[in-house]
């Protein structure tokens, strides 16, 4: 297994803590893309607290690993992760979504230390990450680039343009996660615009595909380590996740793509999160 028991428990504890924070920030902000934030959180936590070669003291270090959160609406998960990792004071998140805050519904690389790309308009992140991977290759730098795309986002054709490029240039220093939570704004992905057979699509585009449970941190870690060994093809990790993971009344619900919480609902959410992690022994 990729993670020791201690590492695994540490990542679980971090994910639990951040799930609680996401609920709090969503309540204070008056609303957020909480469903997609909770689905992708375990991938973010595993990357930021175990694998990314980054230094919060030097957020612009030229040789740092890059992460492009192409599903930029998951800023509600991304911003607390960066704060927890030490890039900035967590207190700043009290103003999430508020006037002149650096933190809105979508991340802004000009305003958020540690954020590698401004994203939000879907289908933009993978080309940017591809450019970063090419930039590393051309400058003979060792850093790796990770990109997280939403599954609904894969409706945008620009992803497939970049997928072609990644395979053509054999960008083994690029790893893509698909947060396969099966939901988009208007309904289930497969009903609105079907992607299956998704794995075959990526394979046909020249990628190696790993399929995992993206809310299982051990599986996420195993997949990252496998992707780091790539020598011929770039790797995409199709991470099956649950939209709203950890909050029982949100799970798999289209209507929790974007939602707001009053104190009563937030309380229920906190209880639900505690129950989930209790089962995991945390």
């Amino acid at each position: 297994m990729a993670l020791t028991i201690e590492e695994y428990n540490h990542l679980l504890q971090t994910a639990k803590k951040l799930r609680h924070e996401i609920v709090e920030i969503t309540m204070k902000a008056g609303g957020a893309h909480i469903g997609g934030g909770l689905s992708v959180l375990d991938i973010l936590v595993t990357l930021y607290f175990k694998y990314l070669n980054i230094d919060p003291e030097k957020p612009d270090a030229p040789d740092r690993d890059r992460l492009v959160l192409s599903k930029g609406h998951a800023a509600i998960a991304y911003a607390p992760v960066l704060a927890e990792r030490g890039f900035f004071d967590k207190k700043l998140l009290d103003d999430f979504n508020k006037f002149k805050s650096p933190f809105g519904m979508h991340p802004d690389a000009n305003k958020i230390p540690g954020c590698d790309a401004s994203t939000g308009s879907l289908g933009h992140g993978l080309p940017i990450a591809t450019g970063m991977a090419l930039g590393a290759r051309l400058q003979e730098k060792k850093f790796r680039t990770y990109c997280i795309v939403g599954d609904g986002e894969l409706n945008e054709g620009s992803n497939w343009e970049a997928a072609m490029t990644g395979a053509h240039y054999k960008l083994t220093n690029l790893t893509v996660f698909v947060d396969r939570n099966m939901q988009m704004i208007d309904g289930p992905v497969e009903e609105i615009m079907g992607l299956e057979p998704l794995s075959d699509k990526w394979k046909a585009f020249g990628w190696d595909v790993l399929e995992i449970n993206g809310n299982d941190i051990q599986q996420v870690a195993n997949a990252i380590e496998k992707a780091q060994q790539a020598t011929e093809k770039p790797v995409v990790i199709i991470a099956k996740t649950v939209k709203g993971y950890g909050v029982d009344f949100m799970e798999d619900k289209t209507q929790w793509h974007y939602g707001s919480l009053d104190s009563e609902l937030a309380e229920k959410a906190h209880h639900s999160i505690d129950a989930v992690y209790e089962k995991l022994g945390i």
């Binding site: 890059r66 790309a117 591809t130 450019g131 051309l138 620009s158 343009e161 072609m164 490029t165 053509h168």
Partner: protein, 339 residues
């Protein structure tokens, strides 16, 4: 009354001379020697846009993404984020429209150091038709915050613009033609500076503010009007549309009090609109007319035939100058009451 300028010669004869885009390809090669951070990108148009010359010289610093402009501009943004200086080249129509959002959000929003050389501007790819014409690109590009917009008069000026862009911070859009346009300038040392217009003809009766290929036409028209009609026509080469040389515009307002803008672009949103904004905000009276494409989709044909048809050649501007000269631009000469 007007001078006969026929243009078919442009396409037929000048194809063998050093063209606008070939010059930029060579300049980019020179710059590539000094700047190892420069990389070239193309979307299956390396040959047409002449960035292929850079590819031949620096094969390891060139990325062809295939026919995928949105992807290309996103990749350029990512490369810039790693410290590279991408020069991206494709046709103006595909830069400004197909990939407009990537240019705006991935590059301009993040104020990244990406230089764009957009070829086949205006109707310079005449017979390719409207899909390949770009008569809206200046309006689109100048509306993006952080973007600098340059429309060189010819190949010599394109070379100057490409050199200047390397040292100019942030995104730069350089709009060229197809490459078969005749040169106005003979040499490069006439004082090109981003954001500063160039006086092409001194004059006191009326000012033509031209950009791109219209500079040569405006100069020829000014010479003809001087010789045959005794008119003193000032011609300004407004190669930078953004930031606009407002000082030169206001100088023309106060000194000639008649202005015509002249561009190979829709009259909505381009050079003419930029100049009109400056005049309107000044509160000073001035006779003013915009010459460009009317708000229609362009016909198919050789560029020179299209320029003649849409009156975007020397003959067209001569007619327009005479028309504006006959207008009374105001009742009195007293400006004190105008603001």
């Amino acid at each position: 009354m007007s001078k006969e300028i026929t243009g078919t010669t442009w396409t037929v004869y000048d194809a063998n001379t050093l063209t606008q885009n070939e010059i930029y390809g060579r300049v980019l090669c020179e710059l590539g020697e000094k700047h190892p951070e420069i990389v070239g990108l193309s979307a299956d148009l390396a040959k047409s846009t002449k960035i292929g010359i850079f590819q031949e010289k620096f094969p390891d610093r060139f990325i062809n993404v295939g026919i995928a402009e949105q992807n290309m501009f996103g990749i350029a943004a990512g490369m810039a984020r790693t410290g590279l200086l991408p020069f991206v080249s494709t046709m103006a129509a595909f830069t400004s429209m197909r990939a407009a959002e990537q240019v705006r959000t991935d590059i301009c929003y993040q104020n990244l150091n990406v230089k764009i050389i957009a070829t086949h501007g205006g109707v310079s790819f005449g017979s390719a038709g409207t899909t390949h014409h770009a008569t809206e690109d200046i309006a689109i590009m100048r509306s993006f915050a952080n973007m600098t917009v340059i429309v060189p008069a010819d190949g010599i000026e394109t070379a100057n613009a490409v050199r200047a862009a390397v040292d100019w911070p942030g995104p730069v859009y350089i709009r060229t033609g197809r490459g078969f346009e005749p040169n106005y300038y003979q040499k490069e040392d006439y004082g090109f500076e981003i954001g500063k217009s160039v006086l092409v003809r001194e004059g006191t009766d009326i000012t033509i503010i031209a950009t791109g290929i219209t500079v040569l036409q405006a100069a020829e028209a000014a010479d003809f009007l001087k010789k045959n009609h005794g008119l003193s026509v000032r011609v300004i080469n407004m190669h930078t549309i953004k930031p606009l040389d407002e000082e030169a515009v206001m100088k023309a307002v106060t000194e000639t009090r008649r202005i015509i803008t002249f561009e190979e672009h829709n009259v909505i949103g381009g050079l003419g609109t930029a100049v009109a904004d400056v005049i309107a905000q000044s509160g000073k009276g001035c006779a003013f007319t915009k010459v460009g494409f009317p708000d229609v989709y362009s016909e198919v044909g050789y560029p020179e035939d299209l320029y003649a048809y849409y009156k975007l050649d020397a003959n067209g501007i001569i007619e327009k100058v005479q028309e504006v000269m006959q207008k009374d631009f105001e009742e009195d000469e007293n400006w004190e009451d105008e603001f």
